[in-house]
């Protein structure tokens, strides 16, 4: 467990203990000092702890381990280890083009206003389906909407390899079309191998990645 989480847990437990004592001995709160203590313990601390805990949970929900903790996502986790440089998620993960600890979130969030919130709502829907519905087979999982180039350009825009890439500049219309999301990075026959679960069984995996 990260140290920050341990500290938050300690603070939360301390707050719960103080509140427990105040609830058991309400006589403490009769005086002026007791009232101030009660206000701090029963109003300020729970809000502070709640916000800290929520922030910690939100941060944790972005981690690769969190996404892969669902059985349905196991194959997607494996696909990050495929030993093939043309396999887009694998090459990003293995070469640290995305933070390894937040690999899923880095590519599957939406870099737009409220994009993070929107994908969190999708995440809640996934949890609901996982526990209370019928989760689809891993290979049947589809994106809610076509993958937007905006997510790729969040990192690649301005990068020399992207701006001066031979294929990107072979036709002067290509680069503006990519930037305007008219020509998809993923589905235009260029970088189109993403989480190829159909061929995962026979694929060679990068052993050191484990």
């Amino acid at each position: 467990m990260p140290q920050a989480t341990i500290l938050i847990v300690c603070l939360v437990l301390f707050s719960a203990a103080v509140i427990g004592i105040l609830a058991a001995r309400t006589g403490f709160t009769a005086g002026r000092g007791g009232k101030i203590l009660a206000f701090v313990a029963m109003f300020c601390l729970p809000i502070f702890c709640g916000l800290l805990g929520f922030s910690s949970e939100m941060q944790r929900s972005k981690t690769t381990a969190f996404c892969l903790s669902c059985h349905t996502m196991e194959d997607y986790g494996k696909s990050l280890l495929v030993d093939d440089p043309t396999h887009l998620p694998a090459s990003h993960y293995q070469n640290h083009r995305v933070p390894v600890d937040e690999a899923c979130y880095s590519c599957h969030t939406q870099y737009a206003m409220f994009g993070g919130l929107k994908v969190k709502m999708y995440g809640l829907k996934h949890v609901f389906i996982y526990y209370l519905g019928t989760p689809p087979a891993p290979q049947d999982i589809k994106l809610y909407e076509p993958y937007n180039n905006r997510e790729c350009l969040h990192c690649h825009l301005g990068a020399r390899s992207f701006e001066e890439g031979a294929v990107h500049n072979a036709d002067p219309a290509t680069l503006p079309a990519i930037k305007a999301n008219q020509l998809s990075c993923l589905s235009s026959g260029c970088h189109d191998t993403a989480h190829d679960l159909a061929h995962l069984k026979g694929a060679k995996l990068w052993e050191k990645g484990n």
Binding site: G20, A24, P46, G50, F66, V127
Partner: protein
């Protein structure tokens, strides 16, 4: 206005809600799974919110000294 006895009861109820909510929060923080997030928000959050509201109600409903 609540009587002192009622106010104490409210305070005790608020304290129990807050303490239980915070304990649930602490448990969820130690348990890194998606269901922990749901429990944290749905149960822990609800209990903390209820505790805060009841506590504030008990504060504003208690007669001030001299009333």
């Amino acid at each position: 206005m609540l009587s002192t006895n009622q106010s104490e009861k409210c305070m005790r109820f608020a304290g129990i809600c807050l303490a239980v909510g915070l304990l649930i929060e602490a448990l969820c923080l130690m348990w890194a799974t998606p269901i922990a997030f749901i429990v944290f928000v749905a149960i822990g959050g609800l209990l903390i919110f209820t505790g805060l509201v009841v506590y504030l109600y008990s504060v504003v409903s208690t007669p001030a000294v001299g009333d």
